[in-house]
Symmetry: C2
């Protein structure tokens, strides 16, 4: 139990006062900003998320706005995903890679206009990468972090709660699409998206002064829905196979190793940083691959550093990068990478957890729901 020393450098969000009033007990730091990690009981929060509805301060998913005549050129340079068919208002999950094909971030891009994009980033300074590329290429483009703070509404009752605040139009929003909907005379971009498998929305609050009013409106409207404050839930996201940049993938990994090959079109896109490296990486087929693991025994300690996975002969065959006890699955669920030859589902491997070495079963992601 170590305290977080908070200073201005770890930025507060437009919702922080409400998060603290709701009794946040743990933060993580993400994009130099406070991201609520727990309100006291991760397992109860996971169960609640699966049954009711939660409001999450995910302002730490900062937006990088790319604006100007060369905006599209820059965005397409940054990702191996072919964006040729992106529609206005659509969200696109786009791996970003460097010249060697190493993952730099895995944001969601939103196309607001042919010359205007938001890139909703994971935890690394994409602003610096975009600005460096643009400067070097003399692109005519502005790149900045606008005053936009996403607020997520997640869980099975999300449609009901959101429709009470923003009207029934939210129900018609398809997955990874968005609409501009009014709140007290101000239009917010609202997408059906979010970092859970329970369904829901992200409200892109593009005026800090409206952060508390939106939060309060959701809680006022959702009292009978048992709405609660929450945050990306470690248990639910591992069960659901949602990767976390910096945890489950780093610059050392290609998108293919991360199981993100379906978002890469190095042959057909107009050309991106790392194109040739990715073509080579695809031809070689990955040397390691992300997988789920069911780790035996009682609850594992918190996974703070990668845990080594060994084979029957004691040789290193991979690492575990996220792990937690899952009450619903009645086992420890984990995400890690396994070397070629060792990743087939059903195989038994050995995880050197900090307490003792435990057998584990390799699985695909997301984890399959236990049958009742």
């Amino acid at each position: 139990m170590t305290e977080l020393a908070i200073s201005r450098r770890l930025r507060a969000t437009p919702f922080t006062s409400r998060v603290e009033a709701a009794g946040v007990t743990a933060y993580t730091v993400y994009n130099h900003m406070l991201l609520p990690a727990s309100f006291g009981d991760l397992e109860a929060e996971c169960a609640h998320l699966k049954e009711h509805v939660q409001v999450w301060d995910v302002a730490a998913e900062r937006q990088i706005e790319i604006l100007g005549p060369d905006a599209w050129k820059l965005v397409q340079l940054m990702t191996p995903r072919d964006l040729g068919k992106a529609h206005i208002g659509q969200c696109f999950y786009i791996p970003l890679v460097d010249e060697r094909g190493g993952m730099l971030n895995d944001p969601v891009m939103i196309k607001h206009a042919p010359d205007r994009y938001w890139v909703s980033i994971a935890d690394s300074d994409v602003l610096y990468w975009a600005k460096g590329l643009a400067y070097g290429h003399r692109f005519q483009v502005e790149i900045f972090e606008p005053d936009v703070s996403p607020l997520a509404v997640q869980g099975p009752k999300s449609d009901e709660l959101m429709s009470r605040v923003f009207g029934d139009a939210v129900r018609d929003i398809r997955f990874f699409r968005g609409e501009w909907l009014p709140f007290e005379g101000h239009d917010f971009y609202i997408a059906r998206s979010g970092y859970s498998r329970q369904g829901g929305f992200e409200i892109y609050v593009d005026d800090s002064a409206l952060g508390e009013p939106v939060w309060d409106a959701l809680f006022a409207a959702g009292e009978d829905l048992n709405v609660k404050a929450g945050g990306p839930n470690l248990i639910e996201r591992i069960e659901g196979g949602l990767l976390s940049y910096g945890n489950d993938m780093t610059r050392e990994n290609t998108p293919y190793e991360c199981g993100l090959g379906r978002f890469c079109d190095p042959w057909t896109s107009i050309g991106c940083v790392g194109r040739d490296s990715l073509i080579r990486a695809e031809a070689d087929s990955p040397q390691r691959l992300v997988r789920g693991l069911r780790i035996s025994g009682d609850r594992v300690p918190s996974c703070r550093v990668p845990w080594t996975i060994i084979g029957d002969g004691g040789e290193k065959i991979g690492t575990v990068t996220s792990a937690v006890w899952s009450p619903e699955f009645d086992t420890n669920v984990a995400i890690g990478m396994l070397d070629r030859g060792f990743w087939e589902p059903g195989r038994t491997v050995w995880v050197e957890a900090p307490d003792f070495t435990r057998p584990a079963e390799v699985t695909t992601l997301p984890f399959e729901k236990p049958t009742a």
Copy 2:
């Protein structure tokens, strides 16, 4: 008191096991890594630092290595400071700015060879900026984060402790110079530098496996010197006027506003990103300037967001960005920025602290020692 939820993404350091054994009570997160902020009593740690010697895990000062035929071209492109006279083994404090002259980081550069540099960074992903620039300019250069973790030895007894472990050669190292000195058959680059005003060294531990042995050797050698584990101390660094990137300066500030004009040579350097913006900023002279403030009253709360400074008429004239009670100075010491016309030392201004509005006196930095 909020807990920090630690995951692999908040990277441990080669010294973390020792830091935890020493009883760390608070971390901050810096360059996606754990940085010890306190071991339980910030005021006692400040007093100890001024009298004895401390060992600090500052591995979070990550190194960006820039290597290759175009390395110098890239480094000089990134900073307005003229590096023409940099010697091998020398440390240079180099503001990094973007095309508008806004601060991106304020690292220390170490020149190891004409084609090899380490950039010891504050809290932002300089790696991404450097890689973006290099890609766009087609520079022939490798840019990566090597396995280098600085360990600081700070305090008046630093020379004595360091000489016991690394020999008397450390005593001859001049400020912001370094030497390669042996430890168990391995040479470390050791510089006279560090983020305090109490003197000391930074050992660039360039092999994680040697982290614990170096730490242990320092503590074994320093028992009679009352050596303790510590970290950058909020009280001491504010008293000493040491700015913190992300706290006291951001992309919104030019180096001139940060009082860093003496490190900028936009006219004479061979040309850098933001050159013309800086020439303009210098000509305009800054619209705001970093200053110290003595804030009246008993101890201020923790400064988590910028506090507004108002003038006699209630108009906003600046912000406080770091503040803490100083036992030695017997007042609250703070760092902030004041608008043109309001920054002369001795002026009384009003700080809207979270508890109540307090009078404060503007001062130069560092704070002048109280006379006994």
